[in-house]
Structure formats: C-alpha cells, structure tokens
Symmetry: C2
Subunit: 320 residues, 2 copies
C-alpha cells in the first residue's frame, strides 16, 4: 500500500522532483486534465522540466489549457498520477511509464494504493480541489491559465456545482479562481452549454422511444445497436442519456436500455431517493449504488423489459 | 425616482416597519420567491407581522420554503417589492396593493425606480445576494430554511452558477449557505434535475424539426401551434427550448421559430460571441441583445425562414 502524505509532505517531494511526468487516466475528463495541467504550469513556473502523458488524446475542447504533452523529450525522473483511482485506468498504450508510479494525487476513496506515496482526499469534490491547496501551499501565483485549469476540474466533476459531491469548499475555491481570473463565461460555454451533434441525435431517438409505466412512476428509453451506430454516439454521449428518463417530473425509476453490438442489452437504472436501484439490478445479475445501478440482459427485448418491470414494481412497492 | 438606499439605511427602515407585505413579480421565479421567503423568515424571527403576495400561484416545487402567503390577514403597513424591475411586472390582480410601494430590493439595472426608496445592486447575480447581505447586516441567524430560500434565488438566477452573471461573490455566498445548512442535494434535484413531461415532449418535437444551414453554423428548430397546444408546453418550457439549437457543437446561430395561435411566427435568435443576434433581428423589425434577440414574422413559413437565413448569412459574414 501507498505511504500516505499530507499536503506539506507531498509538497516537499514535488519540490525535489526533476523531469516530472504527470499522468492522466484514459478517456480523460476535465478533472484529470485540468488537475494535471494546473500542476504542469505550476511546476514549469518553478523552472522544472515537466510534461503530461495520457493514453488517449486530449479532447480539443480543452485546448485552452495549453498543456505540454509528453513525447519522449526527457527521461522521466518522477511520475505523478493525477485523478487515477487504479492502474487499470492508465491504458495499455502507456504501460512502459506506469509500471512504477512515484506519487498519486487523487480524490477517489476507492483508490487502490498502487503508487509509492499518495495524497488522497476522499472528501474533495475533484482532484482539482487538492491541487488548489497544494499550489496555495507552494505559494504559486494562481495565474489566469492555472485558474482556468482548476476551474475546469472543479466544475466538470461536480456537473457545474450541481452534484451531491459539491461542498462549501468547492464554492470557496471557485470564488478564489474567479478572482484569480478564470474565464468563467468562456469555460462554462465550452463545458456546459455545448452538445455534440451525435449527442443531440441520440437524445432525439431516446425521447422517441420513451415509454411510461406504473402511472408515470417509471420511464424507459430504448436504443438499438443500429441507432447507436448511425448517430455515431460515443460512450460519453450514451452515459449522458442515462440520466434523462429519471429527470422527468414524477418519475421515480428511469431506465435506459442499450442494445450492444453482440445483441445483449445493457441496462442503466437511475432512481430517486427511497427507491433502491441496486436491488432492481441485483435480482437480474447486476449491481451498483442505491440511486444508480446496472445489469446486462440477454434474450428478446420484450422479455428483458418484462423482467425489468417486474423488479421495478417490487422496488416501488418497497419504497421507503 | 426612488430614493437610493445603502444596506444600513434599508435595514433601519425595515426594522421600523410593521405589518410588512413582501411582493413578488408575476410568473414568479426562484429568485423573487426565494428572496421574499428569506426576508419573510428573517422578519418573522424579529417578531414582525409579515406575509408574501404574488399575482400568480407559487409553483409547488418551491413548497419547501414554507412561505406565509398574504390572504388579507392584516392591513399592510409597509410594502416591499422584491426582485421586481417595474410596476408592469406585479400583475393586475394585486393592483390594490401595488399602487404605492414603500421599498424595492432588486438587482435589475433597468429598474424603473417606481418605489419610494430602493436598495439596488445591479452587479448582484440575484436579488438573493442582496438579501443575504441585508440579513448578515441585521445579524439574523441564517437558519437552514433561510439558507434554502437564498440558495434557491442564487442558483436559479445563475442557472446553477453557469450563466455570465455569476461572480466570485455568488460562489462565496453559496459556500456560506451550504455551511449554514442549505439542502444542496435536495434543492439541486428539484431545481435542476427535473423536467416536466410537456418540456420533454416539446424537446422531442424540436429535435425532430432540427435543420442545419451554412455547413452546420446555423441550426433552426420549428414548432407549430398545434404541436405547442398538444404537448401542453407552457412559457417556461418554450423559453427553455430557445437555448437548444445554439448549444450544438459548431453552431454559431441557433434559431427557434414558434408558430403563434394567430399564425404569426415568434422567432428567438441565440448566437455565440462574435455574431450579432440583435443585428439579425433588427433587420426583421425585432431587436434584443448581442447574443439573444427576437422578432415576429408574418406570411408563410418558407418566406419567414428565407428572410431569417438571409440575415443570418450577413451576420456570419461580418463575424468579428
Ligand atoms: Mn476527479
Ligand atoms: Mn432575480
């Protein structure tokens, strides 16, 4: 297991480190990229050689962070994983750099402790919160660019301050970043006011397939493998859809059924407080959390739907 | 014109006031209701007789504020308009109480100055920000209920901290309200994670009608009067739709055309920075702001679309 560090200890190791390689998780999100980028700019400001490595390309909407990517320009002397809960999240294509990780900075309570040492804060809404405190401890000036990077991490991991992980500290840091010059309007537009054409197309199909059951207490959407292929919807687009049926007024259980390329059905269940999504899925061989769970079903669509609705009915009857 | 007050002066008048009637604007939103409710609970805590009046019913999703509504239980001694920019926004049904307004607390720079005295802060993202400062100055304890009321105003007027009016102060106050016990998860669910069935239905129809022009730089959605009537979509549902086409990746001009009961077309134009929405609409007899404008067109749908696209093309060519 990792040696557990506090901010001061992490700081002193980072200040000693040379030729620092910052590593993001695969399918990078705003927090892993924003946190790595903020640390990149801070370490660069201290005169260090530093670069960022990620198994997947950085989506172009994050171009404003102007990250220096690692392309073999130096031999890594110290590796720091940022927002990466386990080694399986690095991605195989960068395996030569992830065999040994010197430090991990993360906010996932589930972090497997793969790194030599770890700065972990499971109460932080985003890794960006931890990086903010680290940079404050170093005394780094929070430049407008660093503020943009940290705001990106903070806001994307909290759904723009909407999700349950948001705390008073999240808002306090956001206030500090805005004062430091974060481009609030530009970033919110890029991060939250924009949808891909494929996302819109898949939303349309989802809405067309919408069915209500149990007097509107359950809503189900269904997407065929052909529809998914046609629209070009990617994993993020499809994940976004799963929250849609539960958002409808009066709906307590929202179900999204996605036909897989193999023909099986990937089912996502989202519930309101009081209805147990994991119980619904557990009876069908799946699992998850109280308000978000999933399972995979085989056979005909009608049978899959019938099995699901039987479990939904039980859960609605048990409602606390 | 109104006498302009600072916090201390407003405070001293409120402390002297008896039988206080707090008045919201018609079609009440989270800010006018949340601000009035917070002031209601604070004044009640000081032992005053106080009630809230609104020309329209308070939507049931705001029930958690537990506002005491005015039903003629006392003769108003002091009237305070909250978040009401002009007298036309009171609503005719409460005209007997709005002929003379003693005080107005507002954040709209356009406030017409109809009240005897006014506490106006045009930089505040929401009237709830001003009420927060007022209550802090009184020394009122911010109870969890008052925190819920103020969080409602703050978050709804900023689209959950997403709109351009959000400032560092907005986040600072949000942090204080969360610390004071605002029910963040419950409120965000009610306010931002829920859509009416009619809103979903109208979104579906909007997506079905989506057309791209100029290589995807312009997106247009169109809703017939029959579709609007069928879905039962109300003003809020329809307003929500107008931001949809502009949100699509690559789209610089988003147009929503709604056929009115009379058959004319109500057009909303939303643009990205650099494209002037008001110029597009001005040439068609309408107007508005740089990024959000509107106009009304008569005649056939094809002619209306053609006229619009001609102006859109000009605006795209002029793009700065
Ligand atoms: Mn994260
Ligand atoms: Mn307001």
């Amino acid at each position: 297991m990792s040696e557990i560090l506090d901010i001061a200890a992490a700081l002193s190791r980072l200040l000693k480190a040379e030729n620092v390689l910052l590593i993001c998780h695969k399918n990078p999100d705003g927090d892993t990229i924003g946190s790595a980028a903020a640390l990149y700019w801070a370490l660069k400001g201290l005169g260090k050689t530093v670069a960022v490595l990620c198994a997947d390309p950085i989506p172009s909407r994050y171009d404003y962070m102007d990250i220096g990517l690692y392309t073999g320009q130096f031999t890594p002397g110290y590796t720091v994983a940022v927002d990466v809960a386990g080694i399986q999240l690095f991605g195989d294509s960068i395996a030569e750099y992830t065999r040994r990780i010197d430090m991990c900075i993360d906010h996932h309570p589930s972090n497997s402790g793969y790194a030599d040492c770890m700065l972990l804060d499971g109460d932080a809404a985003a890794t960006a919160e931890i990086i903010y405190e680290l940079l404050t401890a170093i005394g780094t000036e929070i430049t407008p660019t660093i503020a943009d990077c940290l705001y990106t991490g903070l806001s994307t991991d909290t759904g723009c301050f909407k999700f349950a992980n948001t705390t008073a500290r999240t808002h306090e840091i956001a206030a500090k970043l805005i004062t430091a010059g974060a481009s609030l309007v530009k970033l919110n537009n890029i991060l939250f006011e924009s949808k891909s054409r494929s996302r819109l197309a898949i939303e349309r199909l989802a809405l067309e397939s919408l069915e209500y059951s149990f007097g509107g207490r359950c809503a189900t959407v269904y997407l065929t493998k052909e529809q998914i292929a046609e629209t070009g919807a990617d994993g993020t687009d499809l994940e976004g859809i799963t929250s849609l049926p539960r958002m409808i007024e009066g709906v307590e259980v929202g179900i999204t059924i996605r036909q897989q390329p193999t023909g099986s059905y990937k089912v996502s269940v989202r519930t309101v407080t009081g209805v147990d999504a994991s119980a619904i899925c557990a009876h069908l061989g799946g699992g998850g959390h109280k308000q978000a769970a999933g399972c995979e079903l085989l056979g005909s669509l009608d049978n899959a739907k019938a099995a699901l609705l039987t479990e939904v009915e039980k859960a609605l009857c048990k409602e606390s």
